[in-house]
Structures are given as C-alpha cells and as structure tokens.
C-alpha cells in the first residue's frame, strides 16, 4: 500500500544556515505545489487518454503540508498525505501516489534538462506561472536542490537556470530586486520613479504615502525591495509587488557618501604607504568592506574606515555600548572583534569567509540596528 510522500527542497545559501527559511521565501512552497499539480494533471491525462479532464477532487487530493524544516541549510519537508487524497478522491489513492511520485520525477527531469543545456520542452501556461513564482526570491549565489525519489541524483535550480526555463516559454520572468536608487519623480496619482542601476523603476505607492514620505525629496536616496517582471535583456518591465520603498534618512545618506569618499581615498594608496611598508589595498578587501557598509548602512555615519598594512581594510565603530572592529583581508574574508565601552567584556576575534548572513547576524547580536 502506498504511503505518504515527502519531498525535500534544500535551500542552499548562507541565509539558510541553521534550518532558517526566510519568510519571504515561503511563497515558493505553494508555487512548487502548483508545479507538481500541473505535471500531475499531465500524468493523469496520459494514464486516462479517454478523459479530457481530471476528476472532481483531483486538485484537493494533491495537497502538500509543510511538516518540518530540517537543518543542512534549510530543508522544508513537503508531505503529500495519502489520507487527504483518500478523502478528496476516494478509491484513487494508490494511483495518486504513483502520479505524485512521477510528477516529482518530471520536475527533476525538467531541471536536469536545463542543467544539461537541452532545449526546454514547451511548458503550459500554468507551469510557467508556477515556475515564475518558484525561486523568485533566490539571490545570485543561492540555489534550491531537489533529490530524485530514488535518492540518487541531486539537481538544482538557481537564478540562471530559472531564467532560462521561464524565458523559453515567455518574454519575461519575475525576480525580486533590492537596492538604493534616487527619487527621480513622484506623482500624486500613485507612483514614484526610482533611478537605479537597472534603469528607472516606477513603483506604485499610495497617494497619501507620497504626500507624507516622498514629497520634497527629489534626488534623495530611496531604498527599495520589489518583485519585478524583467525581459530577456534584464530590463524591468513592471513592478509586480512592493515589499519596501522609502526615502533613506539624510544622515544615513551622508554616512554613505562619506564612506564612499573614504573608500576612494584609501583605494589610491600606493605600495609602501605606511612609511615604506603597507601594501596597496586589495580590491577584494575593498569590495568586502563596501558590502558590509551597504548591508549596515544605518551605521555608516559612525563607521571609521582605515587601511590595514596587509592590503586590507579596517572598519571601526562605536554603537550600543560596544567598540567594534572589522578587518577585511586581501582575500575578502573578515575578522570581527570588539570591546565593551564601559565594561570589561570583550568579543574575541571571530573569522568569517565573506560578508554574509553569519557575519551580519554576529554583528547585529552586539550592535542593534
């Protein structure tokens, strides 16, 4: 007799360490289920060529439950329940178990195909719709791994593969983008235009919010976090969802500009800048330090930025009662340490391979945002 089926999606990336799944990625789970259902419909029709449609209760019989998130990056376990299937479509539970398993294999096959550079098969609109949601929040250095039912092959979906899959069947695809741009214009009719590296983005904003928060802020920095539809050329066609948009505090902006100037200053240091010793600052150290400043921009105004003799960068700041130091080495790795300003407590140096969630979490544990 068929049992419940468990599908494990393994999210790989630093922000998923310790079985953490950011809530903004949860929308992947219904999208995965929609993809599975779409393949299941194909399977059903293939098994029943005499039938044009799936039976009533078919969709409900393919419910997936999130039962746990296992460690090992983050592994949400999605369980197809035989019992639920039995209640929704009595008498078909054995066949549905086979269909669910075969549909999952179809998804694996689809991802394997794109991994191998094969031409993508024609995908139905409902599959493209599901794919356009599944993994939309992935970042460039992240992926979602799926293991075949037999436990053998592991195949993954990343930003690039996802894009190839979707644009094979449509002109655009969705991705989530975050950053800081400049307020180019605002309209009382309900949108602001943010000038960004990707071009201008027109973001819908409530007219009252425009009056309260954006009026009189032209040319000021604006932070944004939006789901957008982009074309093959990565041009933004439209904004699909807005998670955050707001004018950056002027003091934060000043801190950001000040740090940019300081980085430019120390990047010009020549070999031997420290009275004959001191290597020129390495690009990897600069980029790593800049990434940190950007990630904790709220503290930029209080950060002091110095060159380090070994081609690195040292950032120091006092906040929340701690005097913190972060040393960015020539290979981009980071060492963080600190002392309590009015006490004897100390944070012994901790090493991080790069600026990522682990470093930021450790920093936040000492310095409130």
């Amino acid at each position: 007799m068929a049992e419940d089926k468990t599908f494990k999606l393994r999210y790989v990336g630093e922000r998923y360490s310790g079985a953490r799944l950011p809530v903004n990625m949860l929308s992947d789970l219904p999208a995965f289920r929609d993809l599975l259902v779409s393949f299941a419909k194909d399977q059903w029709k293939a098994r029943h060529p005499d039938r044009q449609r799936v039976p009533k209760g078919f969709d409900a019989s393919l419910t997936l439950d999130l039962t746990t998130i296992e460690p090992g990056s983050a592994l949400p376990n999605l369980v197809w329940s035989r019992e639920v299937a039995q209640a929704s479509l009595p008498g078909f539970e054995d066949e549905l178990a086979e269909i669910v398993e075969a549909s999952y294999s179809d998804i694996i096959g689809l991802f394997e195909g794109v991994a191998a550079g094969q031409d993508t098969p024609d995908l139905s609109p409902d599959k493209l719709r599901a794919l356009d949601k599944f993994g939309a929040g992935l970042r460039a250095d992240e992926k979602i791994e799926l293991t075949s039912v037999t436990g053998g092959n592991v195949v993954f979906l990343d930003v690039e593969r996802r894009k190839r899959l979707i644009i094979s069947g449509r002109d655009t695809y969705s991705i989530r983008v975050t950053g800081i741009g400049t307020l180019a214009s605002n309209s009382m009719y309900g949108h602001v235009i943010i000038r960004t590296e990707r071009g201008d983005i027109s973001i819908p904003v409530d007219p009252q919010e425009i009056i309260d928060d954006f009026d009189g802020s032209l040319d000021q920095s604006v932070q944004y976090d939006v789901l957008v539809e982009v074309d093959h050329g990565e041009h933004i066609r439209k904004v699909l969802d807005v998670f955050d948009v707001g004018v950056v505090d002027a003091s934060i902006e000043a801190g950001m500009l000040r740090s940019q100037e300081r980085f430019a200053e120390i990047s010009r240091l020549q070999e031997g800048w420290l009275d004959g010793i001191g290597a020129a600052i390495d690009d990897a150290a600069l980029q790593s330090a800049q990434k940190f400043v950007h990630a904790r921009i709220v503290h930029a105004a209080s950060m002091k930025i110095y060159p380090n003799e070994g081609a690195g960068v040292l950032i120091e700041l006092e906040a929340s009662g701690w005097d913190m130091s972060l040393e960015f080495a020539a290979n981009g790795s980071v060492q963080m340490y600190g002392i309590e300003v009015d006490g004897d407590d100390e944070l012994e140096p901790q090493a991080f391979a790069y600026v990522g969630e682990q470093l930021l979490a450790a920093f936040d544990a000492k310095v409130r945002r």
């Binding site: 009275d275 110095y306 060159p307 340490y337 012994e348 140096p349």
Partner: protein, 143 residues
C-alpha cells in the same frame, strides 16, 4: 634587552600615521605593533624627550606623523603590557633616538593584541592629542 620602565607616571609618546586617522580619530591598529615589529610597539619616553622634539626627530627621519598620543607606563602595565627602554643608535640614514622605548606585546596572541590595542587607544584618546595640539614654542615635556 633594555631596562624595564618603572615610573608608572611616565608618559610614552606614540606617533600616528596620517592614513590611520579619519575625522580626527586614529585607528586601533595604530596602537598595536605592526607585523614587522616583533610584537613591540615603538614609543618615545617623556622622561628623555619632549613631544615637540620627538615629533621633529620622527618626521626628520622621514616618517609621517599627524599626531602624538600619550599612554603612561602604568596604563600599559594595567593591561599586562610591560615597557622597556630601547635607545636607538644613529645609522647612515637615521638620527639617533635615545628616547626610544617599546611597549611589549610579547606573549600576547594576535587576537589579544587586537582587543588590547582598542583599550590602549581609548586611554590615549581620553588623554588627548599631545602634539601638534601643543604650540611649537612649548618645548618642555608638556605632560
């Protein structure tokens, strides 16, 4: 090896390189030995020279300094850092520095040196810049 410095009140001068200062604040790395310093932080003794003379000698020898901060022998000692005299003889290129001494970070690992340097920096900043905040005409020890 030079004699240990025992007068806890004696101030030791630390020269600060201009690139290690931002908005008037020195980096903590300016208060720990550099990699080539063999765990010894170079300082000049206020019992032997003045801040002005120390500054002139240092920059005259071709080194850059934008400020001199002071830390007492006792303040170094409170953090487990002993200080020793270390007069430097003249060389072909450098003028002699009889006031030279060092604060020894020997036996302290790189990690400990880093956090201690932050403590030493705080002590130095609390005392304030000793030179060039002082007028050039004031040629006593100024401490």
């Amino acid at each position: 090896m030079g004699a240990k410095l025992t007068d806890g009140h004696e101030i030791l001068f630390r020269q600060i390189h201009p690139d290690l200062v931002q908005d008037g604040e020195p980096s903590s790395s300016a208060f720990r030995p550099k990699e080539a310093d063999d765990n010894k932080l170079s300082v000049d003794r206020s019992a032997v020279t003045s801040v002005q003379a120390a500054y002139r000698l240092y920059t005259g020898n071709g080194y850059k300094s934008v400020a001199i901060y002071g830390v007492s022998v006792a303040e170094f000692g409170a953090h487990g850092i002993p200080c020793e005299e270390d007069p430097l003889a003249a060389t072909e290129l450098l003028t002699a520095n009889p006031a030279h001494a060092f604060a020894s970070f020997d036996g302290l690992g790189g990690s400990k040196q880093r956090t201690l340097a932050k403590r030493i920096k705080k002590v130095a900043i609390a005392r304030g810049i000793l030179h060039p905040a002082l007028s050039e005409g004031d040629d006593d020890n100024g401490v």
